[in-house]
Chain length 257, copies 2
């Protein structure tokens, strides 16, 4: 493990539209900034630019809400078409809630990929225009892997990618970025078999490496600025065949429920 590392954000990326080549934009922007990627760099990328370039968006004027969406919309004072989009992204609604001081409530939902988060990660912020909703990429691991291959080919080195979204947490206030798509980067570093500084087994210690990276990216990834790509340099990490599913607790293992 190294003694230090650094992070920098990529400045000057364009807005993205469906069909744009995100990898090429990252390459071009690095070149403009006279920067390049080197062996072992990890990029944390806010999913919104991935979603936009893949066209993972919904448009309210194209949505017809189901009776279920119309009913649920009343509970949380949301546009029923928005609720319909949220339901289309969800396995189940965990909770529907609107506090008296809120104009619009929240649906805590289990996204079809297994993440439990507000509104099944359907988001209006940083949309290009009113009525556009940004969804998660269809297969965020695949998106990460394709991006990674393109960047590795260009820079001729091993890289890692974490696609992130911003989630609230049970029990704790504020949001942190979490990993929703991975290429090469381990989701969880298992420390089974390792020992603490005093020689006792670290049997249950398993740092959520990809979530540590995602959370750290929030220190430089300002939502109100256009800084969706953060580069981590100087870490040593094992290149693995990883998936964001490695970070999802199965229902029957969830001690916290």
């Amino acid at each position: 493990m190294p003694d230090s590392m650094m992070m920098f954000r990529l400045s000057g990326l364009p807005d993205f539209q469906e069909g744009d080549d995100l990898a090429q934009s990252i390459i071009d922007t690095l070149a403009l900034n006279k920067q390049q990627l080197v062996e072992g760099d990890i990029l944390v990328i806010a999913h919104k630019v991935v979603s936009k370039s893949e066209g993972a968006c919904a448009y309210l004027d194209q949505v017809t809400p189901s009776p279920e969406a119309i009913e649920l919309a009343k509970t949380v004072n949301k546009d029923p078409r928005k609720v319909e989009v949220i339901l289309s992204q969800s396995k189940r609604v965990v909770r529907a809630f609107k506090r008296p001081d809120q104009e619009e409530g929240t649906l805590i939902a289990e996204h079809k990929n297994g993440y439990i988060c507000a509104n099944a990660a359907v988001d209006e912020s940083n949309a290009d225009h009113p009525g556009q909703l940004i969804l998660l990429p269809e297969d965020p691991d695949k998106s990460a892997q394709q991006l990674c291959l393109a960047l590795e080919a260009h820079f001729a080195c091993n890289l890692g990618i974490v696609i992130s979204d911003t989630f609230g947490r049970p029990w704790r206030l504020g949001q942190t970025n979490v990993a929703i798509g991975l290429a090469n980067v381990p989701g969880v570093m298992s420390m089974l078999g390792e020992e603490d500084a005093f020689g006792r087994p670290l049997s249950v210690t398993a740092p959520a490496f990809a979530d540590e990276l995602a959370a750290a990216s929030g220190l430089l990834m300002e939502k109100s600025a256009k800084a969706p790509v953060i580069v981590f340099r100087g870490l040593s990490w094992p290149k693995t065949d990883s998936s964001s599913r490695d970070l999802i607790r199965s229902h029957n293992e969830d001690l916290f429920r």
Copy 2:
């Protein structure tokens, strides 16, 4: 917001015993490494060194378990004296659980300071000898503030401190470090009133700044090595009168329950 930042870990800190001066040790170790702290540096410090230097420990051979502890110990196959210590640190037990493949189960508990975590943060790893249990510091915010004042006085600059512990998460596998004690560093950065890159209000965005720092520290803070202090350099952040309580969701606001 800066474009880049760096983190380094402090190498060569000693083991700590009750009564040791942690601030002085940090100062001495920095001097040995020809390093110093500068304006705006934030230190994330693993609580164990704070707890040990404050004597926030329990010793199994000094504990008499209550009937409640003895009963609960059977459910999770723990030493009843350890359960007694966990109960002494807890407001309530959220869940007692032992999977068939586990030798010893887990008590998810609400610590008396409000954190919900495994075994009320009572920990055997990195204890100095068998039978010693490390607790959280009695008042982690106060510990952080005292350390911060001592370091600020020595280095004549404004600093921030986050005392961290390693917590599991509902729904997600692996652990991340979270903030349990704060000096000067905001727990949550409220972005009320700010706008996204397209001019829409970021009404619910509130990055959990102190938890982002804590999680990031895990990238360099190896449990099996002795690296309990990580220095963050290059961030710009508002010095605030903060408390780790700023990060705790009140029961009635917890949408995820």
